[in-house]
């Protein structure tokens, strides 16, 4: 039997306020490890791919991994898996902070939430019981207020997560937030809102017992040593993240002409340096903040003084793009306030910003008038940007349309707006430009989440390890990254850990903690198994190879330092076909029976 697990899952039914504890079979641990693996395994078994994501039949699965709550560094994240109201496919997303450690301390490895509350409520999980607590007084309240309320009721030693107004209003890209860390993408907050669930709280004291404490402690020391060398070097990636957060690297992206600007019509934002982290260090009192057990502390808290003073955690780089360059907003205070609105209302800053950039272009082209919108929504208009975010979260006026995201907006607006609605599978683009980075083009196109940046060769392409534009060899590289990151997300590792830690060290930690005996091949096979299972779920949900296409704008020329460059459509399509081959899928992108058999995939649905 494997160690470092509680070996139990908790199933909570909100409809009849019941709960039950179930044992997690050893075979599931062996084949899926934990975190994302657990989430994808149980969701694909238990949720009909064809249902609407906001139907009561959808489930929310919060999952930890075997390294959660141990002394191993950079395993603070909680995985969340559900069906996405934005993409209509499966979504896995991750939140740092201390939620995972608190969840695991209740004696469960994962929590499956089913059904819906009859009135707005939150749920408290302890090792002994589950409480369903109505909280109508929190209706319409911001995330911070909701989390503070729950902590005040249940004690500050709780781990909490909550939704804001956007989740209650079923904004398709609403987030769930835990103490300024975010399950950002894909509308998990809307799923929680559809269940009338304002928040969750975990409170326990159960520790983690590892298989071989002596070897595990040795491996933990080795991992810390790797991160210490990295953070001591002010020029390494994690050294820079440690000092400046993710926003410290914006000028590299800009100078490489890969900073999406003006709804992806430009690759360079002339005033980008007004909104990067070094600019915030001049404007605000800033300090660093870390997730549980993390030696990097990439979080940046900024406190702005004055009578309207406020503080933010972030913006992160991705937000500097979405609510910054993509909307031509170079006002750092407007950006910080926009970021804060998204945190208060609980909205994904990426989808929110990218959607507003799309609306700005629709306004510029006359597809949306100032009468439709209620005001002028020009690029670079900070006041309009903030107003649009308010309306979006409230679903008031034009906000009701904005809250649907770019894909549905384009369907409703019509004309040729879909060609510049920058999404893949309905999920708005993350901060990277398919026009400039062919690996990112393939990543956005083929990700089971939609236009997600978590599993792409970003650093390799930006820092010159791989050519940015050539499609040669990218299919195999992207598939390899997808499998590897999936495997890491079973643990559940921070995405930044593998920038320094070799894969063998992750596996050593896993084996020493659990008593497993995995090697690199076994580990990567697990990542591939999960990827294919998600793909099969998405196909059953109605997605197809057409969903692996990018908007037409991605194939239009873009100016790069005085020259026009573009992603060649034929080369891109050939790269997608090559990717299908690498994956063992047919020409329509369906995993073949041989591939399914090799990965041991059983399908509970047709």
């Amino acid at each position: 039997m494997f160690e470092a697990y509680n070996r139990n899952l908790l199933r909570i039914n909100l409809t009849d306020k019941s709960f039950q504890v179930e044992e997690i079979p050893a075979e599931v641990m062996d084949k899926f490890i934990g975190g994302m693996g657990f989430g994808v395994y149980y969701l694909t078994r238990e949720v009909d791919p064809a249902i609407d994501a906001l139907d009561m039949g959808n489930k929310l699965i919060f999952a930890t991994g075997p390294l959660t709550g141990t002394g191993a560094p950079m395993f603070a994240q909680t995985a969340l898996v559900t069906k996405s109201p934005l993409t209509n496919g499966i979504i896995n997303c991750y939140c740092g902070g201390n939620l995972a450690q608190k969840l695991k301390s209740t004696g469960y490895d994962l929590v499956i939430i089913e059904g819906a509350c009859s009135q707005l409520s939150y749920v408290l999980v302890t090792p002994d019981t589950v409480k369903f607590i109505p909280c109508p007084e929190l209706q319409g309240k911001g995330v911070r207020e909701a989390e503070e309320y729950i902590s005040a009721q249940e004690g500050e030693d709780c781990g909490t997560a909550a939704i804001g107004l956007a989740g209650e209003n079923l904004v398709r890209f609403a987030s769930i937030i835990s103490s300024t860390r975010v399950f950002g993408r894909g509308g998990t907050g809307a799923v929680m809102g559809s269940k009338n669930l304002k928040g969750v709280a975990f409170k326990g004291t159960i520790g983690v017992k590892v298989h071989n404490p002596r070897v595990f402690a040795l491996k933990v020391d080795e991992a810390f040593a790797v991160f210490k060398i990295a953070t001591d070097n002010p020029y390494s990636l994690l050294g820079v993240f440690s000092r400046y957060g993710t926003g410290g690297g914006m000028s590299l992206i800009n100078e490489r002409y890969a900073l999406a600007t003006r709804n992806h019509t430009q690759a360079h934002f002339a005033t980008a340096d007004k909104i990067d982290t070094t600019a915030y260090h001049k404007l605000a009192n800033s300090r660093r903040i870390a997730c549980f057990g993390c030696p990097i502390h990439c979080g940046q808290l900024h406190s702005f003084q004055g009578k309207d003073g406020f503080f933010t955690r972030g913006p992160e780089y991705e937000t500097m793009y979405s609510l910054g360059s993509d909307c031509c907003n170079d006002d750092p205070l407007v950006l910080a306030r926009a970021h804060n609105l998204c945190e208060e209302y609980g909205m994904d800053t990426l989808s929110a910003g990218c959607t507003i950039a799309f609306a700005m272009e629709c306004y510029e082209r006359g597809f949306l008038s100032s009468e439709d919108i209620g005001f002028s929504l020009d690029f670079g208009n900070g006041e309009a940007l903030l107003k649009a975010l308010e309306l979006m979260a409230r679903r008031q006026g034009i906000g009701d349309l904005l809250a649907e995201g770019t894909r549905i907006m384009a369907e409703k607006i019509g004309r040729d707006s879909a060609h510049f609605a920058m999404n893949s599978k309905g999920m708005e683009f993350a901060a990277w430009m398919p026009q400039r980075m062919s690996g990112i083009a393939l990543t956005f196109a083929t990700s089971n989440r939609g236009a997600c940046h978590k599993r792409g060769p970003i650093g390799q392409e930006l820092m010159g390890e791989l050519p940015m534009e050539s499609t040669e060899g990218k299919a195999k590289i992207v598939a390899g990254i997808q499998d590897k990151v999936n495997a890491l997300f079973t643990l559940v590792s921070c995405r930044f850990a593998d920038f320094e830690l070799p894969i063998e060290m992750f596996i050593s930690l896993l084996n020493a903690a659990t008593g497993m005996n995995k090697d690199v091949t076994d580990f990567l096979d697990i990542g591939e198994r999960i990827w294919n299972l998600e793909r099969l779920f998405n196909l059953a949900a109605g997605l197809s190879s057409e969903s692996d296409m990018l908007p037409a704008r991605c194939f239009e020329p873009i100016e790069v330092d005085g020259e026009l460059k573009s992603l060649n459509r034929e080369e891109f399509e050939a790269m997608v076909q090559e990717y299908y081959q690498v994956r063992g899928w047919d020409q329509q992108g369906v995993p073949s029976s041989v591939t399914r058999k090799r990965l041991g995939l059983e399908l509970p649905w047709k």
Binding site: Y235, L237, Y244, E255, T278, M463
Partner: protein, 96 residues
Amino acid sequence: MEIKVCFYAFFREYSPEQALQVSLEPGKDTIGDLIQVLKEHLGEKFSREVASLIKGNRELQGLVYVGSKSILRLDKLSTRLKPGDTVKFLPPMAGG
């Protein structure tokens, strides 16, 4: 030979100006030579935190670009410069 040198992000702490025009003497045309000139021009902080580290710090070498290529992908400190080149000191990035 005239070379343009641009500083970005945290590298701007080393230079009061974001862009400098630097003259290199004939025969002194490598990145290593440029670093020596910058050391004299920019002073103690640059000397301590960049010039004295760059030889043994692969990551730092990866942040110095000639045009669109990092010197790590060229000839490191021996990378030869030509008139009109732009040398950039850029931060690292991957994901985020």
